[in-house]
Every structure is written in structure tokens, then in C-alpha cells.
């Protein structure tokens, strides 16, 4: 077969493959949105779930998802930031650093169910935190730390070394240079990374089913005292998130409209991730512009 014909065939096949992939991906997103969006209403988003009856919503689960996300980010961000600063700004290229980097890589490659099981063993059982928001937030933190650390490190990498020299030459310590010069300049890129990782955390379920638990007790949205058991802010209450809810009602759901609720929840989840993505791109660009222009 001559090489030109071969070339044509091969490129045709590649077009075909790309087309099939696009179709699959479009069908996937299309199915989620088409089957799910009609179920989504204000009522659906705000009412609590019903165990045996039709017409339950996902209000509590949605709140739990955001609350857990915020807590997990609050815990993991400072740790990831510190670790990234040490790794990028201070760490010498020696065996200790390489061991640490390997450890972080291992953490990032652990299946999230293993992270969740460890959270169950350590926080729920050993520390007696029970199935609680707190246990869940810690599990999500472990799940989130390696990626967030790497993403912040990449952000630090985007800032020119000349900026560091500039700070040092003024008699600033490396720490002051990093916190006062480098980090402010890296904010757009760090923020993008944080929001993208938030999307991942938001959709995570396997790490949560045995830490934050699989039940969503009714909440009293009038009570904002974190020490009250029915307060939404109480960190010791079990908290099923939206992602866990989808899994739960599909594995052992007994409500009659489980499928409709799953569709709606999936659509909400995917739209939330989409918004996280768009927000990350938009805010990153916007902040960067503000930083570099008048």
C-alpha cells in the first residue's frame, strides 16, 4: 500500500476516534443534564430528603457538601501552603527531599477509599469523633493535600526568581520575600489551583462514606450555634454529602423516586463542578490582569 493512501486511511481513522470520543463525552454530559435538570427546582435544592416517600429534596446534603468543602479547605490550605513553600523555597536537592516528595506522590496515588478507611479507623474509631463533619473534613484534607501542595508549588514556580533576588537584596529574609512578594504575585494562579481542587473535593464520596457518614439528620436552619446538635454548623454531627447521597440511594435507596433524585443530584453536582472550573479560569485571569495593569 502506498504511503499516501496509508496516510489518508490513518488520518481518517484518527478523525473517527476523536469523533467517537467527542460523542461519548457529549452524550455523557448531555445525559446528565437532560435527565437531571428537569428535576432541579428551588424546592428540590432546599428541602430535606425523605426516606420512604416521593418528593424529597437535597437541601441538607447540598449544605453538608459546602460545609465540608469549606472546612476541608480551611484545614488543608495552610498545610499545603506551608509544605509547598518549604519544598519550593527552602528544600535542598537531597535524599530527605526526595523521600518527602515520594511520600506526597504516594498520598496522591492512594485510592480515596483507602484514605476514607484510614479516616474511619483513626478519627471515627480511635479518636472517637464518630461519623461526623470533622472526621469527614480530615479525610478530605488528606485526599486534598498532595494535589493542592503540588498546585501551589507550580504556582510558586511561575514567579520569576528575579523577584526573590529583589526581596533578598533589600535585606528581607527569604520568608518575608516569599510571604510579601512571591505569594501576592502568585495569588491568581494559587486561587485557580484552589478552586479546581475544591471541585474535586466537592465531588468526592468514597473518602466520606465511612467518615462523615451516610445519614443526614434534619437540621434546624434557624439555629447557628455550633454546639447544638441540630445546628447546621455543629461539626460533630453526621453529614451525608450530595455525592454520598447519589451513591447511597442507588445502592440501598428505598424512596420511590430514587432515580429522579439521583439524576437531579448528578446534574447539580456536575453543574457545581462546571461553575468551579469557570470560576477558576475567570477569577485567575481577572486577578492577574488587576495585578499587572493600572
Amino acid at each position: 500500500m502506498n504511503s499516501k493512501v496509508q496516510n489518508k486511511i490513518a488520518i481518517g481513522v484518527l478523525y473517527g476516534i476523536a469523533g467517537v470520543v467527542v460523542l461519548i463525552l457529549l452524550a455523557l454530559v448531555g445525559y446528565i443534564l437532560v435527565s437531571g435538570l428537569p428535576k432541579v427546582s428551588w424546592h428540590f435544592l432546599t428541602t430535606p430528603a425523605k426516606a420512604f416517600l416521593k418528593g424529597g429534596g437535597i437541601g441538607v446534603q447540598l449544605f453538608n457538601s459546602f460545609y465540608l468543602l469549606i472546612l476541608a479547605m480551611l484545614i488543608s490550605f495552610p498545610i499545603a501552603l506551608g509544605a509547598a513553600i518549604y519544598l519550593y523555597e527552602y528544600a535542598k536537592d537531597n535524599w530527605v527531599t526526595s523521600v518527602v516528595r515520594t511520600a506526597i506522590e504516594i498520598l496522591s496515588s492512594l485510592p480515596s477509599v483507602v484514605v476514607g478507611l484510614f479516616g474511619f479507623l483513626f478519627f471515627v474509631v480511635k479518636l472517637r469523633l464518630g461519623f461526623s463533619i470533622l472526621s469527614g473534613a480530615f479525610a478530605l484534607t488528606f485526599f486534598n493535600l498532595p494535589l493542592l501542595t503540588r498546585s501551589i508549588e507550580d504556582s510558586l514556580h511561575t514567579i520569576d526568581d528575579k523577584q526573590r533576588e529583589g526581596g533578598l537584596a533589600l535585606g528581607l529574609s527569604r520568608w518575608e520575600t516569599v510571604t510579601r512578594v512571591i505569594l501576592p504575585a502568585a495569588v491568581p494562579s494559587i486561587l485557580t489551583g484552589v478552586i479546581l481542587s475544591a471541585g474535586r473535593v466537592f465531588g468526592e464520596a468514597a473518602a466520606l462514606i465511612y467518615t462523615a457518614g451516610q445519614s443526614a439528620p434534619a437540621l434546624n436552619f434557624m439555629d447557628w450555634n455550633p454546639f447544638n446538635i441540630s445546628s447546621p454548623l455543629n461539626p460533630m454531627r453526621p453529614a451525608e454529602t450530595l455525592a454520598v447521597h447519589i451513591w447511597k440511594i442507588n445502592s440501598e435507596g428505598i424512596m420511590p423516586d430514587a432515580k429522579a433524585i439521583s439524576s437531579g443530584s448528578s446534574a447539580v453536582l456536575v453543574i457545581a463542578i462546571l461553575l468551579f472550573n469557570l470560576a477558576a479560569r475567570y477569577l485567575g485571569k481577572r486577578l492577574y490582569k488587576r495585578l499587572t495593569s493600572a
Partner: protein, 274 residues
């Protein structure tokens, strides 16, 4: 005036020719004694003992890789993390190359401006003010005053006085470099080290920068690394010629350019190098 070829009689020129400044009006502020700089096992500087005269401009010239930048960066220990610096660096009678010297305090006295302008991603005002704030200068009027004086000394005030809130990243190359000079002098250093500060600038900006430096020398001792020999000739009182990790010749600038004693210097300043 001799042409370089007139004195270049093989075998009759010395290998090194060092004349340290002795002008009583301009006593030594900074000097190096027995300086050796290593990158790993590689020795980058091995004969570089120089004295620098106060309120004068000293130029360090030489081909790339001759060690002049390494030498300059050793003076305020900017190379601490990547190089080993042995020997003494005497600043007003104190050896600042001792391990227990506080490098941050020392660098406030011996400041540095780099090859490429590196303004911070902050407003013009904050570029100058923020290091001061970190050192406890918080009074607004005091800060305003220092920002204005520094910008005036760096000949940038008239161009930016109405847009101090603007991001410094929006400045042109020449303006940005002068902002970096303003930033460096705002912490009131004693010595100013400049590492090819004009190499990224156009001719007009370069000449403005040179004017600025000539004015600055009444307040500061300036040591400047430059590739540009005309620049060295125009602005400096003393010139040191570096070659392969050694200072081969050090003398007044007029001597170096009109009557170099060492063959290699003579070749370099007359453009016959390499």
C-alpha cells in the same frame, strides 16, 4: 595617548597590574581579602582582592564568565546558597563574611540592583514602601517622604508622581529599572551594587540611567558590573578588569582605558578580545 598596540610588546607587559585607590578624600568602604569563590568543586574566583573607594563609582569589566558578576554577588552574600565564599569581605572594618553576621542587616547597607528590572507585582508606591513598613516605618507622612526622595534621586519622580498607585509591572524597562534603584536606595544603603543594570535597556534609557548614577555617587558608594566599556569609561572613577576568575588589572578608569599595563586588558578594552 597610546594605542593599545604600542604597549603590547610580548614579554614586556606584566601578568597582573593592581593599583588600589589611595585617595584620602575617598577612603575605602569595602574591600576583599583573600577572596575565593567556589561553585561545588569549581573555583570561580581566586584572585580578586580589591578596595572600593567611598562615594566613587567602580566598574567591573571583563568577558562573560570572567567572574565579575560572581564577585559582585559575593560582596553582599547573594551567592550564599549556591556558592562557597572563602576569605574576608571587609566593610568599614568589619568582616561581613563571618557566619554570625546578620545578612539581612548587612544587605540593607549593601544593596543590589539586577540586570533585568525586577519590580514587584505591587503598586509603584508599595514597591518602595513595603520593605520600609516591614522594618517598622509605618507613619504615612514619613513613608510618603521617603518614597518621594527615593524616586527623585532615581530621577523617576516627575514621570510617576501622579500614578503612584499604578502597578509597577506596567512601567517601561528604563522606568522599571529606575524604580528598582529607588527601591534599593529607600532603605538607605551605604553601598550600591549594580549587576549590568543597563543591559536590558535601550540607549536613551541607558544614558538617563548613567546620569542618575553620576548623581547618586555623592550619597552612595557604587560598584557596577558592565559589559559596555564606553559606559565604564563614562561613569566610573576606577575600573577592575576580570579574566577567568582573576582581577588582572585594577586602576583608575583613565589608566585602564588609555594606558593598560596588561596585554589581556589592552586587548579587551581595544576590542581585540577572544
Amino acid at each position: 595617548m597610546f594605542m593599545s598596540s604600542d604597549i603590547a610588546k610580548p614579554g614586556t607587559t606584566p601578568e597582573r597590574h593592581i593599583v588600589q585607590p589611595t585617595d584620602a578624600q575617598h577612603p575605602t568602604v569595602l574591600s576583599t581579602e583573600g577572596l575565593h569563590v567556589f561553585y561545588g568543586d569549581k573555583e570561580a574566583i581566586y584572585e580578586g582582592d580589591l578596595k572600593f573607594a567611598r562615594n566613587q563609582i567602580t566598574a567591573l569589566i571583563g568577558a562573560s564568565g570572567s567572574g565579575k558578576s560572581t564577585f559582585l554577588r559575593s560582596l553582599n552574600r547573594m551567592n550564599d546558597r549556591i556558592a562557597t565564599v572563602k576569605g574576608r569581605i571587609m566593610y568599614r572594618g568589619v568582616d561581613i563574611n563571618q557566619p554570625d553576621i546578620d545578612v539581612y542587616e548587612m544587605r540593607r547597607r549593601i544593596g543590589m540592583v539586577f540586570q533585568r528590572p525586577n519590580p514587584f507585582a505591587k503598586s509603584i508606591y508599595d514597591n518602595i514602601a513595603f520593605a520600609l513598613r516591614l522594618r517598622g516605618v509605618t507613619a504615612k507622612n514619613k513613608l510618603d517622604e521617603i518614597v518621594e526622595t527615593s524616586l527623585r534621586q532615581a530621577a523617576l519622580w516627575d514621570q510617576v508622581k501622579d500614578e503612584l498607585d499604578k502597578s509597577a509591572l506596567a512601567l517601561s524597562g528604563g522606568q522599571a529599572q529606575r524604580l528598582c534603584i529607588a527601591r534599593a536606595i529607600a532603605v538607605k544603603p551605604d553601598v550600591l551594587l549594580l549587576d549590568e543594570p543597563a543591559s536590558a535597556l535601550d540607549p536613551v534609557s541607558t544614558s538617563q540611567l548613567e546620569d542618575t548614577l553620576l548623581k547618586l555617587k555623592q550619597h552612595y558608594t557604587i560598584i557596577i558590573v558592565t559589559h559596555n566599556m564606553q559606559q565604564a569609561a563614562r561613569i566610573s572613577e576606577y575600573t577592575a578588569f576580570f579574566n577567568q576568575g582573576r582581577v588582572l588589572e585594577y586602576d583608575t578608569t583613565s589608566q585602564i582605558f588609555t594606558n593598560p599595563q596588561v596585554q589581556v586588558t589592552s586587548d579587551y578594552v581595544s576590542g581585540n578580545f577572544g
